[in-house]
Every structure is written in C-alpha cells, then in structure tokens.
Symmetry: C3
Subunit: 314 residues, 3 copies
C-alpha cells in the first residue's frame, strides 16, 4: 500500500479485513514496527473518533505522533497552484505538505468539503495537493468525498456480525438532519459495500441521489420500506443533496427509522458512523438497543487505522 | 480505587499520601506499569497545571497520553438524556464518553460550573455522565464542585511542611477577586482537611458560606483576624457566593491578606492553588516570600496525579 | 550550553554545525539521552516548522514532549512585574514559567513582537521573563527580535552547499510583502552570518535598516543589483521598518527577485525561512527551481533543534 484515500488503494479486501481481525486480538504485536517512525496528523476540521483512534493505532505500533490543528495552531493554507498570495493565506499547501512529509513518515489529512461547489469538492483539491507534494505515504482522515477509514471499520464490523452461509442484505438508508452534511460517509460506504460479498441497497428520498461514481452496482430505491425488507444490516446516515449540491431539499415522507419499520427487517443490526444527532437522525431506542453496532464500529476504527498504518510502514 | 472524583474514592488517606511521597523520591520506579496503556484527557475548560502535571504523571508511569480540547478540536456535547438534538450540540456525551473509554484505559475530565444554576452545577451532570458512560476509570481534573487532585497535592504539601507532634492549625481564608469563581477548590480543600489530622478553620465574609455538604466538621467564622491567630498554614482563595449562587456580594471589610495580618499567625506557611491574581487576591510580597508554598503545591500536582493513576492502573 | 536564545549561547559555532551534521547522518544515536526527560513547548503565536521540527528533534532524543498553546488551552499571562492583576491577565508569567520548568527539563518559548513599540519588543520582555523565572534551560522558538533555531539551520544549509576553498558571498535581500513582519529572522541571520566564514551583504530599500546591534560587520547597501553581483547564496526575506518601527514605508524600486536579476549572481542558491507568500515575496519559478534550498533549510530545523536539545540535556 502506498497511500490510503479510497478502497482503490486496497489490493485484497478480504486479506486486509482478516489482518485487522488479527490486530484486534493482539494490538501490540507490532510495537517494534513503528519505532523511530512519526505519524503527522493535520486537521483542517473538527474530529473526535478519527483523531483519537488514529493516534491510538499509531501508539499501538510504537510510532510517535504529532498532531497539528493547522488553522488554530498554524495558519491558513493556499490551495491554488500559481496563486499570487496577497490574501489571507499565509503558506502554500505545496510547501506545508512537502515539509510535513520531511518531518513525518506517514501523514494523515482531514479536510471537509465546503458544500458550495460540487466541482471544487469532488476535485478533492486539498487531499490531492497533499498527495502530490508529500514525499511520504498519505492517509485520508476523511476527505471532501470519501471516508475510507470509516468504511474499513464498517466492513470489519459487518464481518464480525455475520456468520451465515448466505450473503447479508445491507441497506444504507438516508435519515433526517438539521444541517447540510457531506456525502463522504455514504459515498465511501457504498464503494466498499459494492466490493464486499453482500447484497447492497441504498434508500433515499428523491433529490438525494449520490454520485454514480461511487454507487454503480448498488440497488437504489426511494422506497425505504421496500429496502428494509429482510435487511440484515441497516446503516443510517444523513447526507445533503448531490444533485442540488449541498442543499437539503424538502422531504415529504418520514425517513426517520422507527422500531415499527425495523420489524420488516431480519432483526437487522443498526449502524451509524457517529456523531449522531440523537432523536433527529436516529432514535435513542434504536441507538441504545441490543441491535446497535455503533460502538463496535467506533472501536474498530482503531484496527482499521492500525492495519493501514502497518501496511504503509512496511 | 475505581475512580477519582472526591476524597470518598480514597480508602486510606495516610497510605495514599505516603505513597505519593515515595513517588516523589523515585518518580520513574513504575515506568513499566503504564506500558501500552493510554490516558485520555478531555478538556472542556482552560487548564495549565492540571493539564501539564497529569500528562507528566502519566509519562512517568510509561503511559501514552491523548489530549482532547473538545470544543476546539471536536464539537459541543449534549449533556441531557433523551434530548432531541436539533440545536448546537453535535454529539451526546453518552456516545463520546463510551467511545473515549474504548480508546483509553483511564479518562480524565475537566469541566467547570457555569455558575448560573446551583442545582445544575451541584448535580455534577457533566462529570456524572462521564462516570456513567465510560467503561474505564474516570479522574476528575476539576469538576463543577470539587478539585480532588489539587486537594491531594495540598495535603501532601502540608504533610511535607509539618513535623511537630501537635496538629497544625490550617486556615482557609476567602480573598478578594474581580471575577466570580467556582467553589470547587475551597469545597474540596475543606473535604480533605476535615479528614486530615489538623485543626481546620474556614474564614469568609458574610454571604460567602460554602455548602455544608463539604464543610461539616470545620470551624467556620466571619472573623478573619480570629481565624489567623496561631495559624500554621493559611490557604488563600477566592470563591463566589454559594447562597446567592455565583454572585459576588459586596464585602465591606478588607479581606486581602497582609504581612501585618500574618503577624498573628504562627509564622504560617501560605498556600494557593494558582492561578492567582497577584496584588488582588494575594500580594507579591507574600507570594514571593519565604513562607509561600505555592510552587511546592504546584509541583506536588505531579505526584498527586501519579499516585491516582498508579492506583487506577493496578 | 545553558540556554539558547541567540548565537551568544554558542561557544564554538563550527563545532555545533559539525555535530548537527553528525546528527543528520544518525538522528537516533542519542535516543537514550532524553529518557525520562520532558520538553515543554509553550506557544503564544502560530508556528508550523518550529512546532513540528522541535517535537521531532525531542522524539529523536527519546524525550517526552508537552505542547501548550497558552492562550487557547490556558489563559493570558501577565508580563509586568508588580502588576495589580485586575485586568484580562489570569496568571503571572513568573508563576507560569516557574511551574512549567518544574514539570519540564527544557522549556521552549515562542513569542512574537507586537510591532507597536520598539522599546517594548527589543526589551524581549516575554522571553526574558521566562529566562528569569524558569528553573531549567530555555530555548527560544523565535522571540520578538531573534530566531536562532532558524539561523542555526540556515548556517548548516549553507555549509552543506559550499565546498570551494574561498568564502561564499551571502546576500540577505529584502523582499516585498503585504503585511508588516518582525525583524527577527533577518536580525538573527545577520548575527549568525557575521560570525560565519562568509562575505555577508545586506540589501534593503531606504527606511528598512535593521538594528546595528545585529548587523555590525556586515556590508549594507540599498543597491540590490550591486549586492547580487557574484552572490553564491541569496536569502530572501521581508521585514517591516525598524526605524519607523513596524511600518511598511513605501518602496519605489522593484525589490522582487527575478530570474533576470539572478543572472548577475554566481548561479546562487536561494534561501527563505518559510512561510513564504508565493509570487509576492518570492516567485514560484525561483522557489521551485533547482537552486532553491528552502526545503533543505526546513529539514535542517530538525537537526538544529536536536543539537541544541542535546547540548542542553548534557
């Protein structure tokens, strides 16, 4: 592995998942691998699980970690090549990335989309600038369009919760929210599900179609009840519109998942990447119920980060 | 020890203080104890001594440390159970605490009171939510009503400065300030003094009574001169009113400690938890004089944190 | 070495540079030296290279590192001795420094000038307060008037790029900017160049004279073309006026370095401390060209910090 920014960087998904399982059993087995190696984490946006689990994973591997909240501890980066820097940006990303990668052996970058311009966000300008100018491997800690560490943890969680001979039915269902959110988690989850041995269905209201770049191969429906039928896993997540980019078009139907709706499923497990707006996006009753996998997903973020770091250090 | 949020979590105070003394002599003796263990420190408020001394203590024990300034690096937590999260809070404390404790072996939480509602602050909602939802031991890094790591360091400091056969007289005296401050330090100091082998007197102006929950057993007076008479230790501290909650009722007498007032004492040592507003709360002359113990108290914060971490790791 | 705040703290410059070269070849050779030692870094201002490279250097030496962004994670420090602290400052620097140095074995301080009062900035009040009150060695991470870690890295970089028998001609040339910047980097570079075996020329527009305290012994000119003639190294840097303190007096001539102007040099190497405002202070073409040493300078910040830490730990 030379970088980790999407599932495309994984050669053999089954093998990676198996290795993540091994790490979970014995997380300190490779404590010598990271000796004298430094992980640099650069945050352009808030982060809780990603921030902590990636640090934990690096420490399990014996790495040193340097965390940089660039806009609070440093300054605003210029992203445009050739820019005449007479504005608010103090340092060009090409310089910051090059130097960060001289100080570190692996660099992790967290950068959200602005949700103003689809072209801008889907060009992954920020992540790509780091990829271009870092002289060491780069890990996406969630980019404008994808969140591969989350998806790796999600695939691991599904594997841990499925031991029947047939493929599970996995449903990604849109949920209400009060704020326009990125499409990174659903894009990424879709990409990883399509390459997994599952029946994958995406359910969302009209106007909330995801980019076909990530969903090709999935069954897509606007009928939530139909989607939930015999589902084994229900991944709940809000996202803003891709078509009317970044907008929250009115949704007439009630997309909030309920225990009643869950009856149509095959006693499905419930998943969410967190943070979750309780009782807006997902009900307490379901989040705290016996079928919820949300804390297991969060724990698996450690092992997802650790297998990626391990591969990159080798 | 299963948690550390007040003196109630200490089984044998003398034993703990003795062990803290031992740690001070040989701080790296237990460097193997924390191997592969992680301390997670979550700050909801500013912190200097607590932040640094607790990190130092953990490092002395060979632990890894992850620091999270939740509102700057993460987002606002919802504290209310059952809340419909359609406001500013992004993640429920139950989720944040549960996951933090999956990533860490010990969790430290810093949370100040808002000084708006006595009921709210004295319910210790924030700390209690962490205690309820963390799956690992929790340390208070100062809560709404108590600051036990400070008190432990204070008791250690008094012990180090007293070798006579009789009990020392310890006076906690209210001091002026320009800002409404929590009652956490005086509440806590009182609680610890009452269980120590000292004569303990609290002196404060009328209207500045502390909650009897923490002061029962102490001699309480509004006569500062009387209190200082033959004192061996004078702990200086401002706090806002508990009765007129969070207010700074007018004080007619001059409560600022002076060298003149100190003459009534038994050449008493002067204590303060810091930070101190110099020449408002306590005079330079006293803070920088030979009887000041304030830097020794600050140093002892390391060993207070270290004995607590050591007990929790065992 | 007992502290590191300017070249005056270096006994033998050649020896230090040679030792920095040795560290660069084998950065982990002294990993036992820092065992159980703690570096405390206190930032009053943004920092990228200094923040990361100093952490990296400490880790290479096996030290623990504690980083404190004092105004974001702590509170505002009072700098004035004897102050009646009834304003915005919460803790006196004398207390913060004393305690920081109890928790740490070496303290690094970053403090910028305000560029309002020459007397205030050039008194180095903040750095001097730390020097006075810290009980352990202090490193300047850039102070109001000097940036010695940068200069040490710069001298190392020049040495690495010069193997001819005669002295190189090194030119420090003022460059345009849109914002008033400190004189710390040019002051410091001048101080170090004057003590190095080079021909040192400073070129700047009228009104941009540096303090003679740091430039005595340098050739100073307002003729950029003349300065560049046969130069071997061209150090490009903006600074605000020292005479009209902190101002950006109008500059009629075009001081932006161009490939055309570079033709007069001896195929000179180009240096800058970064961050650089691209295409304002220095052109992309030159920064990204084969003669640019800017990333090498940035890398050498690690070894500059490491030799200083190593000397202080001994």
């Amino acid at each position: 592995m030379e970088k980790f920014t999407s599932i495309k960087d994984i050669k053999n998904l089954d093998e990676i998942i198996q290795q993540a399982c091994d790490i979970k059993i014995n997380p300190h087995a490779d404590a010598a691998l990271g000796k004298n190696k430094t992980l640099g984490l650069i945050f352009m946006n808030p982060s809780f699980r990603t921030r902590l689990s990636t640090q934990k994973a690096a420490m399990n591997l014996g790495m040193n970690v340097i965390v940089l909240n660039i806009s609070q501890e440093g300054w605003k980066l210029e992203m445009q090549d050739g820019a005449v820097m007479n504005g608010e940006t103090v340092e060009h990303v090409k310089d910051a990335a090059a130097i960060l990668s001289v100080y570190c052996d692996v660099v992790g970058v967290r950068c959200f989309p602005e949700l103003k311009s689809k072209e801008m966000d889907y060009s992954e300008q920020v992540l790509n600038q780091f990829l271009k100018h870092c002289k060491c491997p780069v890990i996406s800690l969630e980019s404008a369009t994808l969140h591969p560490l989350q998806s790796l943890a999600d695939v691991l969680t599904i594997k841990e919760n499925w031991n029947r001979p047939h493929k599970p039915k996995v449903v990604l269902t849109w949920a209400p929210h009060i704020k326009a959110l990125p499409q990174a988690v659903p894009n990424s989850f879709s990409e990883w599900m399509i390459q997994s041995d599952v029946d994958f269905v995406i359910a969302h209201p009209e106007g909330y179609e995801l980019s076909s770049e990530f969903t090709e191969g999935a069954t897509i429906t606007t009928d939530q009840d139909q989607a939930l039928l015999n589902a084994d896993f229900v991944y709940v997540k809000n996202w803003s519109s891709y078509t009317n980019y970044g907008e929250m078009s009115l949704v007439k139907e009630d997309w909030l998942l309920t225990p009643e709706k869950m009856k149509a499923t095959n006693n499905a497990k419930i998943m969410h990447c967190l943070p979750v707006r309780r009782n807006i996006e997902l009900l307490d009753e379901l989040l705290d119920g016996p079928n919820s996998l949300v804390y297991q997903q969060a724990e698996n973020r450690i092992y997802a980060a650790q297998i990626v770091l391990k591969q990159l250090l080798k």
